[in-house]
Symmetry: C2
Amino acid sequence: MGRTSDAKQKILGAARSLIEGRGYSALGVAEICKAAGVPKGSFYYFFESKESLALAVVDEHWTAQRRDWARVLEGDGEPLQRLRGLFEETQAGQRAVQEGCGTVSGCLFGNLTLELSNQTEAVRRRLQEIFDAQVDMVETVVKEARERGDVAVVDTREAARAVVAQLEGQVMFAKLYNSTERLTPLWNNCLALLGAR
Amino acid sequence: MGRTSDAKQKILGAARSLIEGRGYSALGVAEICKAAGVPKGSFYYFFESKESLALAVVDEHWTAQRRDWARVLEGDGEPLQRLRGLFEETQAGQRAVQEGCGTVSGCLFGNLTLELSNQTEAVRRRLQEIFDAQVDMVETVVKEARERGDVAVVDTREAARAVVAQLEGQVMFAKLYNSTERLTPLWNNCLALLGAR
C-alpha cells in the first residue's frame, strides 16, 4: 500500500517536472515512467490515459496553490496588503524555481491553457474551474477593500479578472525574459487596475 | 521559381495552422508536409530544421501583425483612441478565427512563449524581440497621450508593458473560455493602467 502510493507520487512528480520543462504534448508515457523510475505497467494501474495524468497533475498543483493563496488572501492584514502578499509570494516562488533549474517556469495553469485548452475539453473545464476559483478569491478581497473605501472599482468581478490576467501576462513575460524582476510591477499595476492610486 | 515559392508558402501556411491548433512540440515534419500537400524533400529544401520553420512562421506572422499594429497605432486620431482601436482589432481578429474554426486560437506569440521559450533559445530571442517591439509601439502612443495630458503615468515603459501583459492575459482567458467577450474589458483596463480615468 505504501509502495503503491509511492509509485503514484513518483509518476505525478516526474510528470509535473517534465510538463513544466517541455510541455505536455511532446511527452510520452514511457518517458514519464523512466523519469519516475517505475515500470510502465504502474502507469496504467494509476492512470487511464495521459489526459487523466494531466488532470491529476493539475489537481495536485491546484490543491497546493489554493492553500497558499488562501493563507495569503484570507489572512490578517488590510485587504490590499494581502493582494500585495500574493504577488510577492508568486515572485518568490518563481525565483525559487529559477534558482533550482536555471529558468523561470511560469504558471503551470497558464502554460497548459495555451497548450491544451483547444485539444482536450476535460483539461479546459478543469482549468476554467481553477481560474474561476482564483478570480473568486481575488474578488472577495477587492470587495473588502471597496467596503473600506480603499478602491474605487464598480465591477468587482471584472476588476478581479483584470488582476488575474495581469498576473498571467506578467508571469508569461517573466518566463520569456527569464527574469523574475518582471513581476515587481504587479503591485503598482494592481493598484491602478483597482483605482487605488 | 513560382512553384518553388508556392511550396514554401504551403508549408508555412500548414505549419501556422497546425501550430495554432495543437502547438509546436507535438508536430512532425511528415505531418506538416502531408497537410501542405508537398513531398517531404521540399521541407528540407526550404528549412534546415523544425526550429527554423518555427522561426519562419513567427516572422511571417509578425510581419503581418506589425503592419496591422502600425496602421492602427500610428494612424490618425487621438492617442488613446488608437489604443482602443488596437483592442477592437484584436477582438475582431480572434472572433474571425473563432467563426472559422470554432475555437479562439489566442496569440501565436503568447502560445509559443509558454510552450517553447525554455526549449529553444533562438525562438526565445525572436519572441523577446517581437514583444519588445510591441511594447515600443504602445509606449510611443502612451508618451503622446501623456504629452497631451490624457494620461498620468510616470514610467511609460512599465505602463506599456502592463498594457501588453493585460492583452496577453485576457487573450489567454478568451482562449480558455472560448469567448471573445473576454476581450471587451481591455479598453477600460488600459485606461485604468494608464491613470486615464
